[in-house]
């Protein structure tokens, strides 16, 4: 089944005081390829600036710009049209020997790394490794790992923050999609399953009416490599992502895909107003 989605992602910063200059990078352009076809995409910035685009190491489109006039707000609007299809890929038949080979360790080195966001205590990591690897296949191991995450983390907003690590979320036992993703990544990587972090958008309903706009959200989920990449959403207990998911950034953790980064001089920062609206066009 194919959906055509129109996504508008608006980020508005209001500074407390004048900002003299700022340097910014935006990762808000949906990816091309796989189950996703990018039909069009624009990013507009106010106050106006000349935009510079490039593709980063992990294949994510980046828009960079700097501002040098005194300003007290920043408004970023990212709009795109994406075609998304649900793929039912071939059954994954990888066994532990293949998964734990030198080839996997080389080809997916980045997605097996322990990063600042995806570190667990050595005891937890080693216990998880034993539990997951004692399953007959990596696919079974993945399910055991997901159950473990489900047992140890419940969804609650406002407890963790954007810099929280998997270990911190685990201690608190509560978190949002970013924490679910980091904890799932940390858990699976400890057992040698390559995992990557995905940022993007999630359509909130099950079967949207064409032409009707919905309040969507920025979302994060993960992909596991079991002979091929499989998308799964631990915070919504979805084991195969479908056409409701539009991927933007992929990387080792949040740090590689952060939708907006930058530094500014002057003023004072505040939390941005973020709205995402998604409309099914076809």
């Amino acid at each position: 089944m194919t959906w055509r989605l129109e996504i508008t992602h608006r980020t508005m910063y209001q500074y407390n005081g004048p900002v003299y200059s700022s340097y910014n990078e935006v990762r808000m352009t949906p990816r091309r390829g796989g189950s996703q076809n990018l039909l069009s995409s624009t990013i507009t910035v106010s106050p106006s600036a000349s935009l510079y685009g490039y593709i980063d190491y992990f294949g994510t489109a980046v828009t960079a710009f700097d501002l040098h006039r005194v300003h007290d707000y920043l408004d970023i609007a990212a709009s795109s049209h994406v075609e998304v299809l649900t793929t039912k890929g071939p059954e994954h038949t990888i066994d532990w020997n293949n998964l734990l080979s030198d080839d996997t360790a080389d080809n997916f080195a980045e997605f097996l790394m322990t990063t600042k966001y995806t570190t667990l205590g050595p005891e937890v990591a080693s216990e998880l490794k034993d539990r997951i690897r004692s399953e007959p296949t990596p696919q079974d191991g993945l399910e055991v790992g997901l159950e473990w995450v489900e047992e140890h983390l419940s969804y609650e907003r406002g407890i963790t923050h954007v810099r929280s690590s998997a270990a911190e979320a685990l201690t608190i036992g509560k978190g949002v999609c970013q924490d679910f993703s980091h904890l799932t990544i940390a858990c699976m990587r400890s057992a040698g399953i390559p995992m990557r972090y995905v940022s993007g958008y999630l359509y909130p309903g099950e079967s949207p009416a064409v032409g009707e706009s919905s309040v969507g959200e920025s979302h994060a989920w993960v992909e596991a490599w079991l002979g091929r990449w499989i998308g799964l959403d631990p915070s919504n207990h979805v084991s195969h992502i479908d056409q409701r998911y539009v991927a933007v950034g992929k990387g080792r953790d949040y740090g590689d895909v952060s939708p907006f980064t930058g530094i500014f001089y002057g003023g004072e920062s505040s939390s941005p107003m973020v709205t995402v609206s998604i409309t099914r066009r076809q």
Binding site: D56, Y57, A64, A105, D106, E110, I263
Partner: protein
């Protein structure tokens, strides 16, 4: 007067560069020893002290723990023959060329990784692998504009590579200042020896930087970017900027606008085309790296990505001077150049290999343990001199993180006569040659920085840990011991000299003309 060379003997297993274990002097040192004998050690020390005072007065110092210190100059130079230097030069160029190709490769197609010459996980797992700078194309740039390798002479006298420094190697200012000082301490010898000059370095570096400017620029603006006065090598930064006639800038003097870099000057903002940076990658651009860095320039990486400015040395070179990657350089030379390495590596053990790790743990008290990504001798544990606690600690570390460590055989560095009290005694030395590369040329500075460990028996040559330096004299190919005039003195025993030094011929041919080398 007492002869300072009397009783000079090479020590134990180390190779001495002046005298062999039979007590036979290398012929090339004869003139030097004669001159020092004639002058006497007190006069030599007096002249050296005078120079050190002038170093201090002119601020030729490095800072250590907030204190400004001079790098002690030992007045006995190191002598290297032209024949040997030709080989070293070829070896250095070969090595830097292969590593340059490696860096180009891993930051683009990664063929060397696909061909499994170097495990991919080792490269992308390096803390120095620059994902944020991936995709900077370097049109007409070289990644390693300045390389400073560390060489040592092993027990048999063979020059061996100990380390590659491809990020922001320092030490060149001491080479240039030491040469000037030596011309005052032993002016007589500059007339007799044909010594390859080092004075070309700043102009060679400047040409290499200019040659890398983006193509459309007519009169490229080159600047030297320093972390500032608190950096231990600040003197060198200001020295080089002055010698090259380019602005010395800190991060706050530069700014980016729409992917162009400008320097603030009294004449307004001027566009910058090439940055010779002496700041580490992590501090270069707070948009990409450490957000709290005040040393860098926000927007710099994207300005380079847009090919509006060239950063030299390139971002991400550190992945190739990782000490574990070092063990693969001989294989890289064969892979990229289809040649045998001219300069060998020190025998090194990779700890990710289970058998090697077992071997290292068994023999830990006889090996040197080094963290793979540290520089300046930090974190190194020398097995034979380390305490049991230190060894137990490092053993635990390297089992926990085998990617983070290497183990090496303990090499006894060669020795050179060095002033100790009123005598000359053998002290251990290393050598840091400098290789300057531009798109069309690689140039090796003749000689380099010879560092000497001043405490007896010590092999730690770092300036921060009691090291000193020596001038390094590469004799020109025009130089010939046969043409050197030596006034025969009673102390000289002819049977101690090498056969190349024919005294009958020397005495016969003694004439002032011979000093000038006019028979090219």
């Amino acid at each position: 007067m007492e002869n300072p060379f009397e009783n000079y003997k090479s020590k134990g297993e180390s190779f001495d560069e002046m005298i062999d274990d039979q007590g036979v002097h290398d012929g090339n040192w004869q003139l030097l020893t004669k001159a020092v004998e004639a002058m006497g050690i007190d006069e030599l020390k007096r002249r050296t002290l005078e120079c050190e005072e002038s170093f201090k007065a002119r601020g030729i110092t490095f800072s250590l723990g907030g204190q400004e210190r001079t790098f002690p100059l030992d007045p006995i130079p190191r002598i290297v023959t032209s024949t040997e230097w030709e080989t070293v030069e070829a070896g250095l160029i070969q090595r830097v060329r292969a590593v340059e190709m490696f860096l180009d490769d891993i930051y683009s197609q990664g063929e060397v990784l696909k061909d499994k010459i170097v495990p991919r996980r080792l490269v992308v797992g390096s803390s120095q692998f620059a994902r944020r700078a991936f995709g900077i194309n370097n049109f007409g740039q070289v990644r390693i504009t300045v390389a400073g390798l560390d060489l040592i002479r092993d027990e048999k006298g063979a020059l061996t590579v100990l380390e590659d420094n491809l990020r922001t190697p320092s030490g060149i200012s001491y080479v240039l200042e030491n040469r000037r000082a030596m011309a005052r301490i032993l002016p007589e010898l500059f007339e007799s020896y044909e010594i390859e000059p080092v004075v070309d370095y700043p102009s060679k570096l400047l040409s290499a930087l200019l040659a890398q400017a983006p193509h459309h620029v007519a009169n490229p603006m080159v600047v030297l970017l320093t972390p500032g006065v608190y950096n231990s090598a600040y003197f060198e930064h200001s020295f080089l900027a002055r010698q090259m006639g380019i602005p010395l800038v800190e991060g706050r003097d530069l700014f980016c606008r729409a992917n162009n870099v400008y320097v603030r000057t009294t004449e307004g903002d001027l566009k910058v085309d090439v940055i010779y940076r002496r700041i580490d990658d992590d501090y270069l651009d707070p948009v990409q790296y450490k957000g709290d860095s005040v040393l860098g320039v926000p927007g710099l990486i994207n300005a380079a990505r847009a090919n509006n400015v060239v950063i030299a040395n390139a971002v991400g070179n550190g992945v190739a001077d990782d000490k574990l990657l070092y063990t693969y350089v001989p294989e890289l030379i064969e892979y990229y150049l289809d040649q045998k390495p001219i300069l060998p590596n020190v025998e090194t053990y990779r700890l990710e290999d289970r058998d090697m790790r077992e071997y290292v743990l068994k023999n830990i008290d006889r090996l040197v343990l080094k963290p793979v990504d540290a520089s300046g001798g930090k974190g190194i544990v020398i097995g034979p001199t380390a305490s049991d606690e230190e060894l137990a600690h490092v053993a635990k570390e390297l089992v926990a993180n085998p990617r983070g460590w290497i183990a090496q055989r303990v090499v006894k560095f060669s020795t050179i006569p060095t002033v100790v009290g009123s005598k000359l005694a053998p002290r251990h030395v290393d050598l840091r040659p400098f290789i300057v590369s531009s798109p069309g040329e690689r140039w090796v500075l003749p000689g380099g920085l010879t560092r000497v460990a001043l405490p007896e028996g010590s092999m730690v040559v770092n300036s921060s840990q009691g090291g000193g330096s020596k001038d390094t004299w590469v004799l020109s190919s025009r130089h010939s011991a046969k043409k050197i005039s030596i006034r025969q003195t009673p102390q000289l025993r002819v049977e101690d000299t090498q056969s190349t030094l024919d005294f009958a011929e020397i005495l016969e041919s003694f004439s002032s003309e011979q000093f000038t080398g006019s028979d090219e």
